[in-house]
């Protein structure tokens, strides 16, 4: 898989689904999209790769692949264009169903909210910073899993021979959590805390602010540990391995 195709996969499967989370979190967005019914699709011209948002009954669902009859379709001419769009560069897709301005108008704010994932976005309000941490945690874990499922060598090297292991990230005192499970080449990302076995590597953030610093790479991991932003427990060599891949994800999705 070439790099752009890989990146598209990550954006569609790891970033786009976060619109669900963002919608749950933001009352205004919730209100705006409350009565929406329709399917918004993101696709690459002449390719199978696609994902779509299904708005119905005051809920948002995210599915992969092409929908039979999307209400609106953002058609990107190639992988790179989609990637540019998701990294905030000006790259307007061809829009099918342009006349459904009502759908588009209400979808765009959701997409714009995702911009907070970008490194430049540095919200000041505590709730927004907390949201960003949650989004980053979910995104990173899913991206890692998708990387493996896409057959990326960096990732499969780690998962191929792995016994059943859980890499868990958690912000203490009821903060957000996400995990990555891997076993014999398979991976699964999940939200919250995996309960069926103990974490093999646990990255514990004592508070949102520390998590924010680490996840936005403002604090390099080594200093982060020293300053108490994060405590890593479990297999030392493997927390390093997963850290390297987190960096790799960051590079891919920048």
């Amino acid at each position: 898989m070439d790099r752009e195709e890989l990146r598209t996969r990550l954006f569609l499967r790891a970033a786009l689904p976060l619109t669900k989370v963002v919608r749950e979190d933001d009352k205004l967005l919730r209100l705006v999209t409350k009565n929406m019914t329709g399917v918004v699709q993101f696709e690459i011209k002449n390719a199978e790769t696609a994902a779509h948002l299904i708005f119905a009954d005051d809920a948002l669902d995210v599915k992969f692949g092409k929908h039979e009859k999307p209400t609106v379709s953002f058609v990107f001419k190639d992988y790179k264009s989609l990637n540019d769009f998701f990294t905030g560069k000006l790259a307007l897709p061809w829009i099918k169903g342009l006349y459904r301005l009502d759908i588009i108008a209400r979808t765009v704010p959701l997409l714009l909210k995702l911009k907070m994932l970008m490194p430049e976005a540095d919200p000041k309000e505590p709730e927004q910073r907390a949201l960003k941490v949650k989004l980053l945690l979910y995104m990173v874990t899913t991206a890692l899993s998708q990387l493996n499922k896409a057959g990326d060598e960096q990732m499969t090297k780690l998962t191929k021979k792995s016994p059943d292991r859980i890499y868990q990230w958690v912000v203490e005192n009821g903060g957000p959590a996400a995990y990555l499970r891997m076993k014999n080449g398979k991976t699964k990302s999940g939200r919250g805390i995996y309960t069926r076995r103990r974490p093999f590597v646990l990255m514990r953030f004592p508070n949102i602010e520390g998590a924010y610093q680490v996840l936005t790479s403002q604090a390099p991991l080594v200093d982060a540990v020293k300053q108490g932003f994060v405590v890593t427990e479990g297999a030392m060599e493997y927390s390093k391995e997963i850290g390297l891949r987190m960096q790799y994800i960051e590079e891919l999705m920048a």
Binding site: K188, R198, F200, L202
Partner: protein, 336 residues
């Protein structure tokens, strides 16, 4: 447990296993001026160098000469000092086994040996720096007390307890990056010779020691999800062994799995077998550890898995002993 240790949990978060004991030793050094520390060119690696910072005149690095180190410790102890000696387990227990035996145990000198990088915890360094025979050797020395603490907190407690205890003590730990078992040093009671019952259970008992205890707990939790009641004993003291706790497990569960980062010949499992056999009571015994083989090179956590000393290996053993199959979690879809 010594009173008035001033480091806190916050410090512990940043300290590895060996560092915590280095702190504790230093603190105790302030309370007792007879404590001296020795190492054989491994002050940094074994973290006993922490003691050196506060007490440069009470710290002796003999260079890579472990035999000399044990002899010097013996001589010092004879004058009333309280020597704490630290080096890698392979060297402490094997290279100068005879010195430990003849100069320290046989002459009953009050020397404490803290052997680091025991078992296969030194992973990448390979077999020459692993030590899967030290429990066997040290156990066979009359007068030696043998302890394998499960985590940093137990190590600190063991060091403190050993300093109050009259006679030679051998404490074997990992290389310092092992995950904590307890929440804090006050979270458990440490008494030399008394196993810690971490989990109650009635179907089967897992007796683990050293860095395998964490996996035993995890395996027990996994088994619990399948409806099994698993007792877990943290047998930190291999000698003198807690006969009472073992016999209680024998009578209550009749099935025992032992786990140790050590050869299954002559180690903790064998010590447990001694107790069971002497009692004349029937009991199933499965020993997990290195099955009389030399270790391979690998990351320490991978080696735990490879030798089936981790939660998967223990869970598998539990399954086999209980003749049950556990349900797998086969959901591989990413959550969206």
């Amino acid at each position: 447990m010594a009173k008035g240790l001033t480091w806190t949990v916050a410090d512990a978060d940043h300290m590895t296993q060996a560092e915590i004991y280095g702190e504790v030793l230093t603190q105790l050094g302030h309370q007792n001026d007879k404590i001296v520390a020795l190492t054989a060119d491994l002050a940094g690696s074994t973290k006993i160098g922490r003691f050196q910072k506060d007490f440069p005149d009470r710290f002796f690095n003999v260079g890579i000469a472990e035999m000399n180190m044990m002899g010097i410790a013996s001589g010092m102890a004879a004058t009333g000092l309280l020597p704490v000696v630290s080096t890698f387990a392979a060297f402490a227990a094997l290279r100068c086994a005879e010195h430990v035996r003849t100069d320290i145990c046989y002459q009953n000198r009050n020397v404490k040996i803290i052997a680091t990088h025991s078992g296969t915890s030194f992973g990448q360094a390979g077999t020459t720096h692993h030590c899967t025979e030290d429990l066997a050797v040290m156990r066979a020395m009359a007068g030696m007390t043998v302890i394998a603490p499960a985590d940093a907190y137990e190590t600190a407690a063991a060091v403190a307890a050993s300093l109050e205890y009259e006679g030679p003590v051998y404490i074997r730990i990992g290389r310092s990056f092992e995950a904590p078992l307890h929440k804090s040093i006050d979270d458990f009671d440490f008494e030399i010779g008394k196993a810690i019952k971490l989990r109650e259970g009635t179907d089967i008992t897992v007796i683990a020691t050293g860095r395998t205890v964490l996996g035993a707990i995890a395996a027990a939790e996994m088994a619990e999800q399948q409806g099994l009641s698993v007792r877990v004993l943290d047998l930190h003291t291999i000698k003198p062994i807690d006969t009472e706790a073992i016999m209680e497990a024998v009578m209550d569960t009749r099935r025992i799995i032992t786990v140790e980062d050590h050869n299954v010949y002559s180690g903790m499992g064998s010590a447990v077998a001694d107790v069971i056999a002497a009692s004349g009571k029937g009991c199933v015994l499965r020993k997990l550890g290195l099955q009389d083989e030399f270790s391979i090179v690998g990351y320490p956590d991978d080696l735990l898995h490879y030798y089936k000393m981790d939660e998967d290996g223990i869970a598998e053993a539990i399954q086999e002993v209980m003749k049950m199959d556990f349900e797998e979690d086969e959901d591989w879809e990413d959550e969206v």
